[in-house]
Symmetry: D2
Subunit: 390 residues, 4 copies
């Protein structure tokens, strides 16, 4: 499978085309809208989240609730578009209109793509950059991820993103019973955190940051259960599934790092404390006594849950201003505010869940036959039986 | 550019083909051999490093020291091949020979690709897996990275990998003067560490681990200087350069995480402490007061140094055994030893340097014209002037 | 650059996302609509061409008439959609509605994707196949090609598709003065043919076929002028530009062959009659005495016009029926009629022009720097001067 | 699967790396060498074919005759390399040596990549171009194709390339009994032609051309039998298998066109004469009364034999000289002779067979699961049963 997205933050719509989705997949707008809503919730989001109420339209590739095997096109319209038609319209404008419309943005915000993007693409008006570099684009990546989760769901594979840390407050009680429990609890949490005590402190930290006109980041974790062993491959450097997931996590706006299993802790442990011992029992097959490696060996799934974490920096849009330079006047200024979230980590956990779901669904479709959901199901079941009896 | 590698750990040779290298690049086996030697050094390596003395042969794409624009093929022969011809030969063998030769490996080592790889590809003899999943393959990735560094070097871009932490011992004094200083000092260090005091403790930790029949991991850092702003792009999720680098780092055997700039620390800081303020001065153009984001905004280089770190788990081959299960008898056993390094972190810093160099060189060649080094140089110089005067 | 399309023939819309378009390209819906209209004209088209009057909307990647460097999304709505919402809707339907709506198509038409597509994707209702396999999709490929032509136009490269043969009637007088003349004359022709006498006979052949309830195919030619030498490459099998163009031509619905320059005639000539001798003159540089190879040597442009032809089979939808088999009853039947064009060759010449334009524009953007039109222009001009003075 | 090749005509070796070959495939050098020998035979080849006697070495990815699932590396050494070490060595040479060694080639041959390649990559010595653009590279493409044929053979799919026309002499009697008959007869023919009478005339035409110091081209055909229906897809323009095969054929050195089934004849026929009527019978399933479309509908295999033809121009190396221009002196000259084949069409039919085999094997591996031959076999058999009972 492959997909492309298009669309600007204040343009008429976000669009995605997803190619290679197996025929027979059950897919409805309602399913996807649930995930879009999950992305829009979250303590600490600003006003725009209320305006948006994102709704997807499926405008290709699905008929009567079933994927045709054809490319699927997804559209999320911008409900506020009518206020932006002049500023963001595709058609040329007269020089008078230009006068009126084009309040050029010449003041790059630190931590955004503004300055470098303008240099790269030769824009003097940095709106031409920020409209696309905006995290608004993650809306449609969540839509694509929702589709991917639907594939996984039909194969009894579950993916959940949740929040581990916000602004230095770390969840301590993270011993969820199983992935359904993890989902149920975090789904109710305003910060998508399993630990109710930490949840409170996280919200306080968000309030505090807001009061200070500042922003905070955090750490999200994605857990995947139900995977067969052997997805991904060690045979070529670019076929390792953990590598692809790492790239996907860092491709999310504002993410600065990623780790699997015990992750960076591995630098401080002995080998005898890091690797997961192998057991076997009749009827179950091979299992591991632990899951420190986060579900991967040699770039392949081991059958244990995938556990991957990503770190999100505080969103760079700030009340508390940072110094920057106007590209026209070359005068220093303190950076302007485009929007007002003080913490986007809960939403980011949904985005992370989405991009991980995509990489895994994609690897599975590639590996188990690309055409039809029913055949993929059969092949996966065969693989599960095979590895159990190996 | 793109490349593929092939070859088994005890096969006749490792091979790489690198496609899309611009014509006119200066390239000699001697250059590449220097990097192969850097990979083989390092306190804590086992016996095989002595046997190997890897030497590259350039068997295509280069004539009289200059790249032709044609694909470049690199070969590193296995000096020990004569002892392995029967066990690893490509040609079919008779059933008698099979008797003699095929001591099947049926005991998977935890933390290796052995078990899962065997399940995936249907092998009962896990030698068929471990020969390819072995970190021996990084030899030829270093050769490819050396070629990439040559491209960067002609564009005045420097890449250095070094060691920050081994077995819980962290370098404290890491305030190198400049990247040349960093290279010079770490090149002399048996553990590729800039901090001489930490270096001592790291070697002790390695000795200690060895004595205990255990292994230790660590953290490596790669620094890149001299980059123009605007390499990579924010316009599509899969064109962000930091995402590609993250994927590359995690694709290295035994790497479990990656971070940029302040990385996971970003979860504990306010936005006002994280982003890099922008300054401007006549003749120099835009600079940043700090480099907490590690040289990236919006998936693009900012012009500041790239700073990326990866964590390597302790190598899973152990004297101190872990429990596993024989796939034929289903009997538990404690895992066997295939080789004897107790710490491969210094070598891994050279591999990390190599894969980062590749991603950057590749992004530059794509962006600045794919055919000729002289044109790329011109285009890069123009870009540097343009961004300075922006 | 890369693009994906989505959308069914009677679905709500066709969609394309085009990624990697250089910033600064001038692009308006009006430009693209002209090409959509060119595709819809043509003697021999059926009723649906009148209904459609295709109009593109640019819903991403363009602002005030200029490409932003971001992905461009193009939408062509189906004007007849309101009559198809039940039959083609994306949302699940109740079993009663199903009764009403789902007149399943169980009778595969020979020469269409119907039967094989149904087998591949597991559909019992072949509407699930034919809605996507329909040549309706070429609408949005023409839109993408129009964008590509805009890139070429800004680089002074011209592309024209025209008709050489229909139903056995071959244009004899094809000695156009220059490409502008070729465009001007064929643009006025109801069959897009340069030869006015042949034009008459072609229209008669179309009338005749229609009267007989039959259909006819033909040969189209695409000419490209103004190209610099050296686009494409011989260094790897998959980088030859003529190979890519051949693939693109055959990817058009109903195309069964492709040839360059003298093409299949080359099988009947001596080498001394086939190759194009090289000349040189001060100020002009290298030229060729002839252009039998159609503008390519070694998979690269020579600087001479590209001349490529494709053959289109008669469209398989027929009044004059062919025998087939109902997949439910297994009873033989004679194939039904879905639409009524008797000749689509003139339209196909516009599609061929579009896909050739795309391949060339793509190769140029890759080769001359991917970010900005102004830099590409500069690099192309430099290349032209360089090859002239070589 | 994917592959890259490297190596110059007079360099030490040709190399290929083939990635993604399913584990368990039976593969020996002997198998591949048979195909290399088939490429070297053929009436009309010059002296070098005798020198070469190409032999492949499998230096990675295969153990004891079975593919491991790992990348496979293939090497064909240049037996004449010892005479070329100075001229073609990879290492830098002193300026004195340069004097001695570098008889620069400054005279481009019409019809070769010489001139344009030199312009593109900035070479003044056109040896830097012709060494890679040489059809010598097809040796290793035949090796890769031989591997692909091995995959197909294990799935009971057969591929045969043969010669239809040379220098205007067309085979008339081409009614082979079945593909085994076609292979057996053409294998014995010095020009790989099924028609014994045409064979004689072809050889005479070759003799005649040689006598005149001229060269002749021809038409080759590739036939594939045993394919299941539904390989390839209509859902996206770049997934059509006929399109990929068309691109592959034109990527062969000196090929100028390609057609499927009745090909260009389709321009002269009515729709009722072109499409293949569908029949069905118990136990056999769907069949076609004819195969005018050459085995494809909607870019997918129909289950009928694939029939594809390519046209090869006369090889441009000539005794009978063509005019060209020295790039240093700008003096006209008549083109020199690098080698002396007067007809390479029989060899080209083996190359065409190889590249077609690759595209089909690749499409099958993608579609039916990428890891293991035994699973692919199972999935293919299931697909065959499914389509029979559809």
């Amino acid at each position: 499978m492959r997909y492309l997205t298009a669309g600007e933050s204040h343009g008429p719509q976000l669009t995605a085309i997803v190619e290679g989705v197996p025929s027979g997949l059950n897919l409805t707008a309602e399913n996807i809208n649930k995930d879009l809503a999950r992305r829009q919730k979250g303590y600490g989001r600003g006003r725009r989240m209320q305006i948006e109420k994102d709704q997807v339209q499926i405008v290709g590739g699905v008929r009567h609730g079933k994927a045709l095997g054809a490319p699927i096109s997804l559209v999320v319209e911008n409900r506020d578009w009518k206020h932006w038609t002049k500023i963001m319209g595709a058609e040329p404008i007269s020089s008078e209109e230009e006068q009126e419309v084009k309040r050029q943005i010449t003041r790059p915000r630190p931590g955004h793509a503004d300055l470098v993007g303008a240099m790269k693409y030769g824009h003097r008006d940095m709106r031409n950059v920020l409209e696309r570099s905006s995290a608004r684009e993650t809306t449609v990546r969540v839509a694509v991820g929702s589709l991917a989760k639907q594939i996984l769901s039909e194969l009894d594979i579950k993916v959940v993103g949740h929040v581990l840390e916000i602004g230095g407050v770390r969840a301590e009680n993270t011993e969820y019973r199983d992935i359904d429990d993890l989902l149920a609890v975090t789904e109710e949490s305003p910060v998508r955190c399993y630990d109710r005590q930490a949840e409170q402190k996280m919200m306080e930290a968000i309030d505090q940051a807001k009061e200070n006109g500042d922003s905070i980041g955090g750490i999200v974790e994605v857990v995947v259960e139900g995977l067969p062993a052997g997805i991904g491959s060690y045979v070529q450097y670019d076929r390792k599934l953990d590598s692809k997931i790492a790239g996907a996590i860092v491709s999310i706006n504002a993410f600065k790092g990623v780790e699997f299993g015990i992750g960076f802790e591995a630098a401080r442990k002995f080998g005898s404390q890091v690797h997961d011992e192998i057991e076997w029992s009749e009827g179950t097959g091979y299992t591991r006594k632990s899951n420190r490696l986060g579900g991967f060996e040699g770039g392949m799934t081991t059958g244990m849950p995938i556990v991957v974490r990503g770190v999100m920096k505080p969103i760079p849009t700030l009340y508390k201003p940072l110094q920057s330079v106007d590209i026209e006047t070359k005068e220093p200024f303190t950076a302007s505010i485009e929007r007002s979230d003080s913490c986007a980590v809960p939403a980011a956990s949904v985005v992370a869940e989405s991009v991980v779901a995509w990489e895994i669904a994609n690897a599975i479709v590639e590996q188990f036959g690309v055409d039809r959901m029913d055949l993929i199901k059969e092949n996966i079941m065969k693989m599960r039986a095979y590895t159990r009896d190996f």
